[in-house]
């Protein structure tokens, strides 16, 4: 019974998507707008692939992914560390949190000029912006997770003789894991969002660069393809992340 329900859902989903593609195709072909500016998917995709052969495409994709992974790790890592420490040691939290909360509303992209001044026009400045995008959500969620731990769990562990760092690492952090996982997912998504703009900083490779460059050349099909590619990559990597999280947490945490 459940299987047929899921199948039906999948089919409805596929139908909806197909519907949109068909509408796109129809409207584009109708000639209401110039096909150079609004190509139908049947034309746009093959043309894009023609202009940017798969080998070259892969270079761009991998360049972007590399940047995001670097930025994400450098941002999420400290995010977790600082989040755990601030949530656990109240004095630290009191000192650190206001500073972070005040800096947080500044959009990562607004940092670009300073990033360029500090790091130049190369890779580090782009990675820096992604670091910012990843750090804040990871910190906020980790902090929230640490602060929201059921005190009963800690008390129980204490009755078993745990204290200090042991208590932190073996009880507190695992208890906060679901929130940390949420933070990681959000951070990853935001990193992707920032990527395009980050790659405006004189990049020579990357999916964002691809789109920008295509605009200068007037290759709309490549732009559209690039946009879809970024979206698809985001979706796939997020699904992988969600899968990994589910594997780790799924058994004991009802999401």
């Amino acid at each position: 019974m459940r299987r047929t329900a899921r199948l039906r859902d999948a089919m409805l989903g596929a139908a909806g998507t197909l519907g949109v593609l068909l509408v796109w195709e129809a409207v584009a072909r109708s000639g209401a707008v110039s096909p150079a500016v609004f190509p139908p998917p049947s034309v746009a995709i093959p043309e894009a692939l023609r202009r940017v052969p798969p080998g070259e495409l892969w270079q761009h994709v991998s360049a972007s992914l590399l940047r995001i992974v670097w930025g994400f790790c450098l941002g999420a890592g400290p995010g977790i560390l600082v989040g755990v420490a601030s949530g656990w040691y109240r004095t630290l939290g009191v000192l650190v949190r206001p500073v972070i909360e005040l800096v947080r509303p500044i959009p990562p992209l607004a940092w670009i000029p300073m990033a360029i001044i500090w790091f130049g026009l190369g890779e580090p400045s782009k990675v820096f912006v992604i670091v910012l995008a990843a750090f804040f959500p990871v910190f906020t969620n980790t902090y929230k997770g640490m602060v929201g731990i059921d005190p009963l769990l800690l008390r129980a562990a204490q009755t078993m003789g745990l204290s200090g760092p042991q208590l932190l690492l073996r009880v507190a952090v695992p208890a906060a894991l679901p929130d940390i996982a949420t933070g990681l997912r959000v951070g990853w998504g935001l990193s992707f969002g920032i990527l395009v703009a980050a790659e405006l900083i004189a990049a020579e490779q990357g999916m964002g660069f691809l789109i920008m460059h295509a605009r200068l050349l007037g290759e709309v099909s490549v732009i559209i393809f690039g946009i879809l590619l970024i979206g698809a990559t985001n979706l796939v990597t997020d699904a992988c992340l969600a899968g990994v999280i589910r594997r780790w947490l799924g058994r004991w945490h009802a999401t």
């Binding site: 859902d9 409805l12 998507t17 009191v94 509303p105 920032i194 395009v196 703009a197 879809l228």
Partner: protein
Amino acid sequence: MRPSGKTSAEGGARAGGPSRTGSRWLGVAFLGGLVLLWQLGSLAGLLKPFYFPPPSRLATAFWELAREGFPEGIRIGTHMAVTLGRIAEGYLLALGVAIPLGILIGWVPVLDRLTLPLITFARSVATLSLLPLVIVWFGAGELSKVLLIAYGCFWVMLTNVIASVKYIDPLLIRAARTLETDGLGIFRRVVLPAALPRMFAGARVALGVGFMVIVGAEMIGTIRGLGALIMEARTYYRSDISVVGMVVIGVLGFTISAGLERLERLLLPWNRGLESVRR
């Protein structure tokens, strides 16, 4: 086991800390201390003003922006108004469509299933990646920026509105049915109020997205607006102005978000972390 004097969630196992008011003062003091260090570092020559404009420089730069304006005499007030105006237009446009549409989709399961993969994909499309496309289609003017912001805000709000309706505790609806209410009555008096908390949450996140997008959107084709200001300043090597721009955006974002929270608490006094939602 030594008994703990504190029974609140904050006490007990964790390393003890200062009291509530003590915390606040300590936090402020620390912040003040950092700013002071920053200023002193600059005076001592350790922090070059170009790389780390000291607070004194920022203050004068702000004053300059307020009086003479930059670039070409555009004052800080104008920049703020332009940026906020663009965000507001895109934001309201997005919410205006997302709320009714989201309620509809959330309410009718078939629609939800039809649109789910689409919405999931559209959300994954990085809003700023649309910048080049939007410029090709609509030029580098105001419309493009507003549309971009609208796009970003729309999908976030939509997903939240759908969820707000979809995950209403069915028990509340059952209870309403036993109380001689059905159809429209249930929709108006149970579904909508129950969905409000999550819709507010979505509105706040969407606003955050708007602020994120605007900076990117203002990088091209304009010199008015805080994002443009920050970028333009760089070409003139005025890092102090860039930082002032950053701070102003940050403060604006913070204030508006806090305002929304205040509004929510006013309108939804019954919602103290409690949700009439199943998950």
